[in-house]
Structures are given as C-alpha cells and as structure tokens.
C-alpha cells in the first residue's frame, strides 16, 4: 500500500495527470518513500498485464449492421419548411454574412492549429530519423564546451548548450537539423536508456497556437519559449520527466 500522506497523489502521478509542481513534489517524496515506490512498481506491473491481455471487447460486425439497418441514417431528408421566396433570399443573404464573419474569425485559428500539428509531426519525424543508425550526432561529446562552439558558423544564432549530467540528463551530443523551414540546433540528451532530442531555433515572440505538450505515434513532445528561442523536446520518455528537462532548460 502507498503511504497515507502522499499516497493519494500516486495514481495521478502514475497516470501523468498531476501538474508540474505536484509532479516534482511527488518525485521528491518518492525518493524518500519505499512504500510509494513499491506501490508504483506494482501498479506498473498490473498495467502491463492489463494491456497485454486482450481485454478490449470489439463490437461484432453483426451489431454494426444491425445499427445501420435500424437508424434512419441517410434515408430521411429533412422536411422542407414552406416559406415565401423573398424570405428565403433574405435568409440566404444573412447566412452568407454570418458565414463570412465566422469564417474570418475561425480560419486563422484553424490554420494556426494545423500549422502547429504540422510542426509537431515534423519534430517527431526528425527525432525518429535521428534514432536510425548514424543519424544521431554531428558532434558527439558530453562536454558542453565542445558542443557549443561546434555550432558556431553553422547557424545564424547561438543555442544555449548545458550539460545536466548531475541532474540525471547527461548531454551526449548535438547535430544540425531542419524544421519549420529553417536550420535548427538539435541537442541530444540521455535519460537512462531514453534519448531526447531538444530542437532549438529563434522565434521573436511566443508562438500563440502551439500546445504545451503533445503525443504523436507514442513520442511525447514538450514545447516552450524563452528569451527569443523556441524549444521542443521529443522523446519516448514520459511527460513528467521530459518536463523536468524542460525546466532545467528554462521552461
């Protein structure tokens, strides 16, 4: 059993549902509490069993057919409402005006969101490509004083490069990458056996439409903006730990 004091947060932590502050607090607690650590490993074991046991019940095909036959889907047309032709024309004109106003407000929003999604897809693709043999580094070094100067003259900005080995995120190298139609810096960090790509490029203002975290094809992404640079960390590492690195990098 988890302990009394913090045990109630254990499930929120296990499900990645705690906010950043509580996540960090719980991780501090976890280091000192063997009961919670044990409970967490048991919950992990049980989740693995649950997910590998084919317990999900899919709908039989016959049910799908029954429902389709049952529903008036595609069979019933809405009854036309009788009204004068002039009235219809006025209504149509009003509808067009409304559509234009709504469209003007909604479109940039949609466009922004699609752009954000595209970028997230690009980030994941870059990260996956980097994991293929020979693509991870252009410069392989755990020394920030080797990695940072390596970027000089290759980019039109100087990315911040810091090693966080003592906090459990050793720097292992860096490479040039291409995202969002420009050259970007990619730093590679390691957390136990997980590799993390941190992409960095200049952005004058905080982009409004980007989500803080996203999950695509099993990879977690954390985005943030700081001092005129845009950051995105991508990894198969869980979100709370990825956020920890983001914090170290100044999220």
């Amino acid at each position: 059993m988890a302990c009394e004091s913090e045990g109630r947060l254990l499930h929120g932590y296990f499900d990645g549902e705690l906010d950043l502050v509580r996540t960090i607090e719980f991780e501090e607690h976890l280091k000192a509490c063997p009961d919670c650590a044990r409970e967490l490993s048991e919950q992990q074991a049980m989740r693995q069993s649950l997910r590998s046991s084919n317990l999900y019940e899919r709908a039989p095909e016959s049910l799908r057919a029954r429902i389709l036959a049952d529903l008036p889907v595609g069979k019933v047309q809405p009854k036309p409402i009788p009204m004068g032709r002039r009235y219809v024309l006025e209504l149509l004109a009003a509808a067009i005006v409304i559509a234009v106003i709504v469209g003007a407000r909604v479109m940039p929003n949609i466009a922004g969101r699609q752009q954000a999604n595209l970028l997230a897809q690009e980030v994941v693709a870059s990260h996956i490509r980097s994991l293929q043999p020979g693509h991870l580094f252009d410069v392989q070094s755990t020394d920030q004083h080797t990695v940072k100067p390596w970027f000089d003259g290759k980019l039109d900005f100087a990315p911040p490069v810091t090693d966080f080995a003592s906090q459990g995120f050793p720097l292992v190298g860096g490479r040039l990458d291409y995202l969002d139609n420009r050259d970007v810096a990619a730093l590679v960090y390691q957390r136990q056996k997980h590799l993390i790509s941190v992409f960095i490029w200049p952005a004058e203002s905080r982009p409004a439409k980007l989500p803080e975290t996203q999950t695509i094809q099993g990879y977690n992404l954390v985005f943030w903006w700081r001092d005129g640079m845009y950051f995105c960390a991508a990894s198969d590492l869980n979100v709370p730990e990825l956020r920890q690195l983001a914090q170290l990098l100044g999220q």
Binding site: E17, Q44, M46, S53, L55, P60, L63, R66, P72, V73
Partner: protein
C-alpha cells in the same frame, strides 16, 4: 446534423468503444449488444444537441446511462460491496515479489478479477486502462468531478490488485496440494 459532421462521421467510429464499455458494465455479450443499439438510437435522436467537442465522451456517456438503466431495471447493480483492501495476502512478503506476481497474472485471471469489481470501480478502470481516457474525459463520461475519478481509480486498482493476488495465492495452494 451536429456541429462538426454527420452522425456517421462523428458517432459511428466509436462503436467499438461503446460496445467495450457496455460489455464490461453488464458483463454479457447479448445485453451489451441490445444496450449499444438502444444507446445509438438515443444518440441519433439527440445528435442535434451535440455541441461539438469530445464525441467519444459524448457517446460513452449515453452508453453508460443506458447501461445503468438496464442494470437498475434488472436489479443487477451490485450493492456497495464490503471489501477490505488492506488485508495483506500471505504470499510474497519479499520486496518485488508482488510486482512479479501481478505481472505474471494471465488473461483469464485478470478478466475474472475485473468482472468481480463493483461496477463503479470496474467502470473507471475500464475507461482508463482499456479505453485510455484522460481523467477529464472520464469525468465527463461519468458526470463526476476529476477528484472523484482519481480516488475511484485508487480504490479500483487497489481492489483489483488484492483480488489478483488472492487468485494467484489460491492457484499456488491448489498446485501445492496436487
């Protein structure tokens, strides 16, 4: 027509999720099929009032309500069952041993243990672990605050864990007698 597409586009893709939830709530395939069919008719009727947003949660909420009506009508809702979650099984006092046991639980044992859970705990575990929903989505389906989802999961998982450990223990004892 709803806000963001037709009934076919918005509601039909969640048929597996609907069936999975109904099947775990009523615990048999025949009733689950009837319930999903009824829920889909209701969803079709109310589709005009769907405001857009999370369509899976919207559909599952209807399936859940239909399932509960069925359980209540047939007096199948388990009375709040007393279950002592703190009893420790005699097995496995060694650190890590329980985790190993839980990991080795087979499908049939898991299915039985999950089916035995009181319906509210079963529901929250199914939505989280099988359907992979967030607390916010689960709260929407069950119409409860997010805190209730977290405490429900804590108790549901704790009961599931104890049931699994007991089942393993019985199995080991039977094995020893042979």
């Amino acid at each position: 027509m709803g806000q963001n597409g037709t009934f076919e586009q918005v509601v039909l893709p969640h048929l597996d999720a609907a069936y999975n939830l109904a099947r775990w709530l009523v615990r048999n395939t025949h009733d689950a099929e009837d319930i999903v069919q009824e829920a889909y008719l209701r969803a079709f009727k109310f589709f005009g009032s769907f405001q857009g947003g999370d369509s899976r949660a919207w559909v599952l909420k209807i399936v859940r309500n239909t399932s509960y009506s069925f359980l209540e009508k047939n007096r199948l809702v388990d009375l709040a069952e007393e279950f002592d979650e703190t009893i420790h099984t005699a097995i496995a006092e060694l650190p890590g041993a329980e985790a190993a046991l839980l990991q080795s639980a087979d499908s049939r044992m898991l299915r039985d243990a999950l089916e035995e859970l009181p319906v509210t705990f079963r529901e929250v575990v199914v939505l989280r672990e099988l359907e992979g929903m967030s607390y916010k989505e689960i709260a929407e389906v069950m119409d409860v605050p997010i805190g209730t989802v977290m405490s429900g999961l804590a108790r549901g998982r704790s009961q599931l864990r104890e049931r699994l450990l007991r089942a393993r223990e019985r199995e080991v004892q039977r094995g020893l007698r042979k």
